[in-house]
Symmetry: C2
Subunit: 322 residues, 2 copies
Amino acid sequence: MATAVSIDIGGTQAKLALVDEQGAISARRHLDTRACRKLEEFVAGLFAEVEFLLREAGRTSVDLEGIGIGAPSCNEFEGTIARAANLPFDAPYPIRHEVESRFRLPTRLIKDSSAAALGEHLFGGARDMTHFILLTLGTGLGSGVMVDGRIVRGGTGLASEFGHSLVDPAGRECGCGRRGCLETYVSATGIVRTAFALMAEMKADSPLRRRPFAEMTAEHLFEAARAGDPISREAFARTGRTLGIKITDLIVALEPQAIFLSGGLATSGDLLLAPTLAAVRQHELPLLKNKVQILQSELGAHDAALLGAAAPILHQQKVTLS
Amino acid sequence: MATAVSIDIGGTQAKLALVDEQGAISARRHLDTRACRKLEEFVAGLFAEVEFLLREAGRTSVDLEGIGIGAPSCNEFEGTIARAANLPFDAPYPIRHEVESRFRLPTRLIKDSSAAALGEHLFGGARDMTHFILLTLGTGLGSGVMVDGRIVRGGTGLASEFGHSLVDPAGRECGCGRRGCLETYVSATGIVRTAFALMAEMKADSPLRRRPFAEMTAEHLFEAARAGDPISREAFARTGRTLGIKITDLIVALEPQAIFLSGGLATSGDLLLAPTLAAVRQHELPLLKNKVQILQSELGAHDAALLGAAAPILHQQKVTLS
């Protein structure tokens, strides 16, 4: 069966796998991105992992079609990665060309959030949809947009940065250099910031009060919220409300059939989904009342981008990149 | 030359014209929408005006290809108009079918804001662009979005309601039943509301203080601002700032090549454009710094939608409706 090497480059890990055209994943590998302090280290490590997968593919005699790469802050048109937070790239690195010449296989580069949307479209809850948006709530907030069966890339491939839409121009400092971007509120790091603001605002006792900021994660909030901690629960409620209100802007702009929530924070289930949905229904345009579904990704937190990154190689006929 | 009857239905007037494939307009007609209190009156008046244009076309022997209709709050997929503010429609009226059967000519219905975007694409400043957004600042705020050469219509034809994106969920009452929609701040009516809020906030003398709310128009503010009135100038400054900040959300979502401002309020030139542009440049994502142009429509305040409404008839090969 037609198979590709799929690479999902993230701030913590680069995940690699053999992915076949039906979405089955075999022979996973990974590389610890944070351990690579220089570009050369990262590239050498990545190439070694690709070598392993190529040998594995040869051993199992799969029909290898090429290499698909999903990455944050990449330029799909030029095939480069640059200025990604947590990645050791300063100047644009021509990753598509370098991988293609090294391994002599067709190589495609796509934004990680667009890859995740393609994964959801091919193998997840958006299988029958041609208009939808997928939001990935991880360290930041990524977005992939499909309009009429095509992934929206923008004039020069830089569209779909919904995490940097503005909640409050005078709000929280963002890694992008501005203030008040949505991902400073709605993401695994954003909800931790909210929890600390709530520890200042509320007076309830909470297990959160015994853990420093630098050691707090969204998982701690999730566990505390499930145990009934009022501050954690309020943090999820506010995060959902902020997300829901911004989602109504996406709805009036694009009228998708559905908006999917993916990524670690989205797996917290109703803790986040319920207040998000409530805010959408409260604030959406009456003309569009209840028309747009708010759904959890069917692909779990981690594999949508890995599945979708291979799509431009394995599903060229179905994947129209606008 | 191939010619169509073009109809632009608005809350004040329905404008009709013969439009040829090169964008030349002849034989204009209009119907006072506000004088029609019932659907039957409006339809009878509209049909009479179309009859006039058909006779005119016959007299000048143009090759009549069909009838294109642009209208607010219409359902393009079903060919109906419903619930449009200021129009005498309650239940959905199947205008496409009714016009087509009555005049036995191919008839197309398109949202007025999408028609305006098509007009700008075919005959205005977006001639060489495939990714752009046109915002029409009239009584409300309309939006037309082109992504990769195709007008965005949404899952059921209800996309592009950017005027109802939220500035402040607790803000001004909107005709849609909610609070804080962009068009309650940025439109001909929104800027008047801002001027009245400023008369409360500021203490400067102003000619505005001698005119009641019910008689104030954006034109009065424009004239006063040009004469140096500080309240009118501040109203334009705040309107531009509010618009500019929301435009940065459109930019991160879609990365258009340009955003065009059209409609009566946009013809105020630098009074509005300068603060809008300043706010965009101040608040836009560093990654997209200066990439997206903010431009005035090249088609003037009134003819973009009329030119574009005929496009689905006259330019089928160029106009891909997604």
